[in-house]
């Protein structure tokens, strides 16, 4: 389970995330949406212990990320927005490193690493240095590394960027399967169609504040009777002021 309560992050006088509270139950996928600079990545960094909150708490499976950091991290998997990986390791070695860091038994690694490489169609590249991989291939390796240690909570920051259509579809299936096995998944994405299809709940952040939250049906009903049948994209643009783009296009 992922629980966030009053989470706030200030950089000097600038407040990137303000009083954020949400909850992701085991087996659920939470879509976290927002325009660029809204505070999504800052939230992800606080959830994963990469940033310390200025106020509030984030708990992973009951462990406070700030005080019970290691216990929280043992149960957590992260797919960051940029798949930076050690360039001088091979794909297979990176998976082994992740397996060791999360204390996955050697016998399990030996069986699972080739399986995961095959699943992501990386078998032919698994023995090559990561510096030769494309962005999408590195993203696949990071996804595979997360699956290897089977986290109870999964934080995904734009996990499908750079993936080819087949891999993107497979990744979506993987997320669904992991959720079905009991993982709580928190996913930041700009691809509203994906959020619409696979997320059980959706939160929309704007200027560091959560401006809307609920199931897609709840978001529609909150937007009034006229919103019935509208897509998530339309609701998102209405809530974040994105529909004013027509006025901006005059500068094109």
């Amino acid at each position: 389970m992922i629980e966030v309560s009053g989470l706030t992050k200030r950089f000097g006088t600038y407040t990137a995330v303000s009083d954020l509270s949400l909850r992701v139950e085991p087996g659920r996928i939470y879509g976290f949406l927002g325009p660029n600079g809204a505070g999504k990545t800052t939230t992800v960094k606080m959830l994963t212990g990469l940033l310390r909150p200025s106020a509030g708490t984030a708990r992973i499976c009951g462990f406070d990320v700030a005080s019970d950091t290691l216990e929280a991290k043992r149960r957590l998997g992260l797919v960051p927005d940029e798949p930076f990986v050690y360039p001088k390791l091979t794909g297979a070695e990176f998976l082994r490193l992740t397996g060791d860091l999360y204390e996955v038994p050697y016998e399990v690694q030996r069986r699972r690493v080739p399986e995961l490489l095959e699943m992501f169609e990386l078998t032919g590249f698994g023995g090559e240095l990561l510096e030769t991989y494309s962005h999408g291939m590195r993203q696949k390796v990071v996804l595979a590394s997360v699956i290897l240690h089977e986290p109870k909570a999964l934080i995904l920051d734009e996990p499908l960027v750079g993936l080819d259509p087949k891999s993107a579809r497979m990744a979506k299936e993987i997320f669904r399967t992991m959720a079905a096995r009991g993982a709580a998944i928190f996913m930041c994405t700009h691809v509203l169609e994906i959020a619409e299809r696979i997320c059980d709940r959706i939160g929309i952040i704007l200027g560091g504040r959560l401006v809307a939250e609920g199931t897609l049906a709840e978001l529609r009903s909150r937007s009034g009777p006229a919103a019935q049948g509208r897509s998530l994209e339309e609701i998102f643009l209405e809530l974040t002021g994105g529909q004013e783009y027509a006025a901006l296009l005059k500068n094109l």
Binding site: L89, D100, P114
Partner: protein
């Protein structure tokens, strides 16, 4: 020519604006911190200036030989300075021309490649030389003071320095450019890179083995006139460093026409080098850049057997470090070995050790007491070598996690474990180099048992302290987003580490000076030479100095890294 100049000035303006924005966006704390480091730097430079002033004043007072010795010293310092600039430019140009982050964007933009190359060349000259210039500047200031020269002399120095630095870097840049274009395959390029390092190291060892210092010692010359001739002879007459020295000497001597002639040589040669480089860049840069985008194609097995670290962990049982720490150690070792840039450094270090021991062996020492005393003082020199190696390998260890730092940070691994693993990786080689330098020096000079045991124990302790200090300061000043390791070394943090490391070595020698004096008193027959309370106090001082030098940076670094929120 116009598009070139227009683009070059645009690219230069972007750098100036970025620097200005960096200064403007500094917080109050950053201002305080940077001003404190600046003050510390100025204090160190003042220390160097004072030292040079004492030396040059002494030499200047020597009748007949004084002025000759001063200019010989300046020439040798300039030659050393420019040799160091050449070596730095070799490594820095590789990153700036072929692996810099902004290149991906700039190469795609309609920027003439020559303008881009020129922009990166200016960057290379700056990063290769700024620190070395800061070290040589106190000597020039001291020279100006001793010779009662005004600001005109400093202006003349800087006017000659700029083309001389550019010329020194031009060699390194041209080598890198040709290498990258000629060997597009990364494995061949790596092999050539290592062979070049081997060649440079061999030349260094051979030059040292020729014992040039025999020429510096008047007693090695048959006649006084021979010695005078040596002092008057040019030091590397074809090198820009000699033109610079001659130009400065001419300015001081009032021979303005010689000064302008040397300035014309320097600017002419720098202009010619720039023209040749730009012409080469037009033909080779695109090919080299394209080749640089390819990574190493060495295929390794997917089915990986347990690593030696994992096997050792099983053997150690409950005494073993955590699986995560062992895994990170394995990662560190593997990545280090696969990075060819480290290999070339290791080759040069091996050469340095050989030359070091050769120099120790050739020291003209007459008595056994003097030899043992030199063995004690050798801790200072060996400590300096370990500090320099620490600046290159230990201090950047945390920053070398680079943008992949998120992997370790998101993993169930504490910052202490991460730092401990860095220490575990850096300590053995530091210990080995320290032991090799001190034990071999003691053996070559025939140090007595007391000095041998003391120096060996001291260097082991110093190796540990310097490694912990390096990792600690590296964590206190992490730079995960730099493009090359030299940016980490030459950062404010690197400067603070080096200053503290040298201070620590000085304090170590000071703490041990008393017992060493008592030992020599006893050896020379003085009764009741040993005062055991004084010896105990020295030992306590040594322990306190080591605990503070290792512990403080470690604790501060750990806290800083735990609170780290990005560069």
């Amino acid at each position: 020519m116009r598009p070139f100049l227009r683009t070059f000035s645009l690219l230069s303006a972007r750098k100036a604006r970025s620097a200005l924005n960096g200064v403007r966006s500094m917080s109050g704390w950053e201002w305080v911190r940077n001003l404190a480091f600046g003050a510390m730097g100025l204090w160190m430079m003042e220390g160097l200036r004072w030292g040079f002033f004492r030396l040059l004043s002494y030499l200047d007072a020597l009748p007949l030989l004084g002025p000759l010795l001063i200019w010989k010293l300046v020439a040798m310092a300039m030659l050393t300075t420019f040799s160091m600039v050449i070596v730095s430019s070799l490594v820095i140009s590789l990153t700036s021309f072929f692996y810099a982050e902004d290149l991906r964007w700039l190469v795609r933009a309609p920027v003439p490649l020559r303008a881009l190359f020129a922009d990166k060349a200016v960057e290379t000259v700056f990063f290769s030389s700024w620190m070395i210039v800061l070290v040589i500047l106190p000597m020039i200031l001291a020279l100006a003071q001793v010779k009662h020269l005004g600001p005109g002399f400093l202006a003349a120095f800087f006017a000659l320095l700029l083309p001389a630095l550019a010329l020194s870097c031009a060699g390194g840049m041209a080598f890198t450019l040709v290498l990258m274009a000629a060997f597009p395959s990364s494995r061949t390029r790596d092999a050539v890179w290592i062979l070049s390092s081997l060649a440079a190291a061999s030349v260094y060892v051979f030059v040292r083995a020729a014992e040039p210092e025999r020429l510096v010692r008047p007693d090695a010359m048959q006649l006084v006139s021979e010695y005078l001739r040596y002092l008057q002879a040019p030091t590397a007459p074809r090198a820009p460093s000699w033109w610079l020295t001659e130009g400065l000497a001419a300015w001081v001597g009032g021979a303005r026409e010689v000064f302008w002639l040397r300035a014309a040589w320097l600017y002419g040669a720098a202009g010619a080098a720039a023209a040749v480089l730009l012409a080469l860049a037009g033909r080779l840069y695109a090919r080299g850049y394209s080749g640089a985008q390819e990574g190493g194609r060495a295929r390794r097995p997917i089915d990986i057997p347990p690593t030696p670290e994992a096997r050792l962990r099983r053997l150690l049982g409950r005494w073993a470090p955590s699986a995560a720490a062992t895994a990170l150690f394995w990662k560190e070792r593997t990545c280090f070995v696969r990075d060819v840039k480290h290999w070339s450094q290791l080759v040069l270090i091996a050469a340095l050790i050989m030359v070091y021991l050769f120099s120790i062996d050739r020291l003209p020492l007459d008595t056994a007491e003097l030899k043992s005393l030199v063995c004690f003082l050798n801790i200072g020199v060996a400590g300096f070598v370990l500090s320099s190696l620490g600046l290159r390998f230990t201090f950047p260890a945390v920053s070398l996690e680079g943008r992949s730092y998120w992997v370790a940070r998101a993993a169930p691994l504490s910052v202490s474990q991460l730092m401990g693993q860095k220490l575990a990786f850096c300590l053995p080689p530091t210990l080995a180099v320290g032991t090799a330098l001190v034990a071999a020096s003691n053996h070559l000079l025939g140090a007595d048992r007391f000095v041998s045991v003391l120096t060996l124990g001291t260097i082991w302790l110093a190796a540990f302290t310097l490694s912990a200090m390096g990792v600690g300061f590296g964590a206190l000043f992490p730079r995960f987003k730099v493009e090359n390791i030299h940016q980490v070394e030459s950062s404010a943090g690197g400067f603070v580490y080096m200053a503290c490391a040298l201070g620590f070595i000085g304090l170590t020698l000071a703490a041990e000076a008393w017992p060493v004096k008592m030992h020599f008193d006893a050896r020379l027959g003085r009764a009741n030479a040993w005062d055991w309370r004084a010896a105990g106090l020295s030992a306590l001082m040594l322990l306190v100095v080591n605990a503070a030098a290792a512990g403080l940076p470690w604790v501060l670094g750990r806290r800083a890294l735990e609170a780290y929120e990005g560069d």
